[in-house]
Subunit: 350 residues, 2 copies
DNA sequence: GTTAGCACTCTAAATAGTTGAGTGCTAACT
DNA sequence: AGTTAGCACTCAACTATTTAGAGTGCTAAC
């Protein structure tokens, strides 16, 4: 069956209308609202074909039609016009995100909030990770007799601090010395490629602080590598409650349960380290998650440095405003990449 | 009208039953389920009195009675038996919170999660703040040519880091020197009482890094003082969706909106720096927040050091299980205070 | 003071009737 | 051959209407 221009126009009308009103739409309404120059009867015939093609469906006889996942897919892939941000949107983003804070977790938090507010959907952001993580520096700061703060800084400018407690915590100059030695072993090398012999020598060089040094190394690895404590920034979960498709409390619970499951979210956001800043869309069932089958996800990777990626996903109902969401997200991604590249620029100072 | 023993027994039956079933309860059911040795008719008479006293109310004629806020208040103040934690609960808490991590924000996050899971309500925790904040140390770690990480450590062991960007960032030894001078001015003194002259001298001593030093001081103040970026740990908001009182999506939305408002939550948790580890309860309307009028809050302060307090609040429907919640919360508070005191012990090393 | 009995009230659930939006089909029209 | 008016048909959603039952308050007897 041929998908002629008229069919496409009708499909588009159904989709844009449903995105706006969340109500099934019938032939008569289409004829009245969208001037396609054909009668309701003709539209009915075409709709019948569209349904046969699986692009739209009927909740029940005597209801209008709504787009199917497949219909959205066609729309998103072939028909959707990318649109510019409005002045207001640009303005909002500019005010909402103060990039000069310079600290990744703040930026991420702000970005999540801004996207959630602007789109009125839910935003999830994962902090940047990298297959090959290179430590830039560890700074040990004495806290008290038994504890030290380890500030761990990676090449991609992530800063994390962890308190280390040990009975053999070194003090004063000795701490500085050990610190320097640890850095000399660990710095600028991929974590996987750290020289075992160097580590061994490090440990024998400071026999009285063996436990402490081991602990520092352990913590450094754990902090950097573990996806278990991969940070996740979520914002605007409650927005979803406003959509009629989730006014059934059971559905709402299902989604909130899903949004609480870090692992699930990470899976959904995917882990392809695609360096192009392309925006990807998963519609309804395509993500294979029962709880999210009424949701779509618009997602993209942002880049920090050369090998480090984080992910941003915007989650809304399947009838979400793809056009707006895509343009907002890609605009944000461009901004972030730009900023992160800037931060990277001052990076060759050692 | 006298509140004799029998009336109290009936009130208690109504409250415990309603807490469990969320359904109005009538005289016949009370007579059957709770062996008070009196007939439904007598119970009816007593209930009529209880209603007149404002302790219970009727959703409509021909429905049973439910407790009023005032009724809960009487129950909570005078009748509720404190109960021990069950073995399981103790076990759960022990496993859920690994205090040896030693870092306050992890502990808080874990605590919030644990409380939310154990009680099935929503938990909100504010990080510790102190009226008089004393800085313990600032450690500046060079990041690149234009930026430095400032790790700010307060006397109560809160560790925060902020990236500072400036065009006159000092390098190497000079950074260390400036760092030491800043510490000598700022350390161990209440923020409000820092010697202005010292600061002035500090600035003139390093004229080339004026902007940088100013920025460091500004950031230090801001990080420590601002309640604007007071951290808030929330967990289990979605739990509330499970309760029939919030199955109306509008009510659910209202509460979620409230839970998203940091300022409101901070107000609700209160700011009395009561040092006793007493648990306080706000029932329904008592908190004067329209959005939370169907909720109760069980809250308490935890203590870090001598002058620093944080707050934990557990938010549930007014018919929440006060007895369990109070015992769980006070047990947690004891644990935290204990741990935080431990962390404090190693503190007199300088 | 307590309780059985009973008339009364009012919600919640079940049932039936009505409306209207929307369809698919047929036959007539370009 | 494609388009459209006309019409019978379907079905959710709304509105009464009825029924059932849980619970009350009152009265009179115990």
């Amino acid at each position: 069956m041929l998908l002629n221009d008229r069919k496409l126009k009708i499909l588009e009308a159904i989709i844009t209308d449903y995105i706006e009103n969340a109500e099934p739409i019938g032939s008569r309404t289409i004829a009245k609202k969208y001037n396609l120059g054909i009668s309701p009867a003709t539209i009915r015939n075409e709709m019948s074909d569209l349904e046969e093609l699986g692009l739209i469906e009927q909740p029940h006889t005597s209801a209008g039609r709504i787009p199917s996942d497949k219909g959205y897919r066609l729309y998103v892939d072939n028909m959707m016009r990318s649109r510019e941000l409005t002045g207001e949107e640009t303005e909002f983003l500019k005010n909402a995100i103060s990039f000069n804070v310079g600290q990744i977790d703040y930026i991420m938090q702000q970005t999540a909030r801004a996207l959630a507010m602007l789109t009125n959907y839910t935003t999830v952001i994962t902090e940047p990770t990298s297959k090959k993580t290179v430590l830039k520096k560890i700074q040990l700061v004495s806290l008290d007799e038994q504890s030290v703060v380890a500030v761990i800084i990676t090449e991609d400018k992530t800063v994390k601090n962890t308190v280390i407690r040990s009975t053999d915590v070194p003090e004063g100059d000795r701490l500085t010395k050990i610190n320097a030695r640890i850095n000399s072993v660990i710095t600028g090398v991929e974590l996987e490629a750290i020289d075992k012999d160097n580590v061994a020598r490090l440990l024998t060089d400071f026999p009285e602080n063996r436990a402490f040094v081991t602990e520092v190394l352990k913590v450094a690895f754990k902090t950097v590598k573990s996806s278990e404590n991969l940070r996740l920034y979520t914002s605007g979960a409650k927005n979803l409650l406003g959509f009629p498709e989730f006014s059934d409390i059971e559905k709402a619970k299902g989604i909130f349960r899903a949004l609480d499951e870090k692992d699930l979210l990470i899976t959904v956001l995917g882990d392809d380290n695609d360096s192009r800043d392309s925006v990807k869309i998963q519609i309804g069932d395509e993500n294979n998650m029962e709880e999210l089958k009424n949701c779509s996800i618009v997602k993209a990777n942002y880049k920090v440095g050369n090998s480090s990626f984080g992910r941003i996903g915007i989650i809304g109902p399947t009838r979400m405003n793809y056009s707006q969401t895509v343009s907002v997200l890609s605009s944000i991604i461009r901004r972030i990449n730009h900023i992160m590249a800037d931060m990277e620029d001052g990076d060759n100072d050692e």
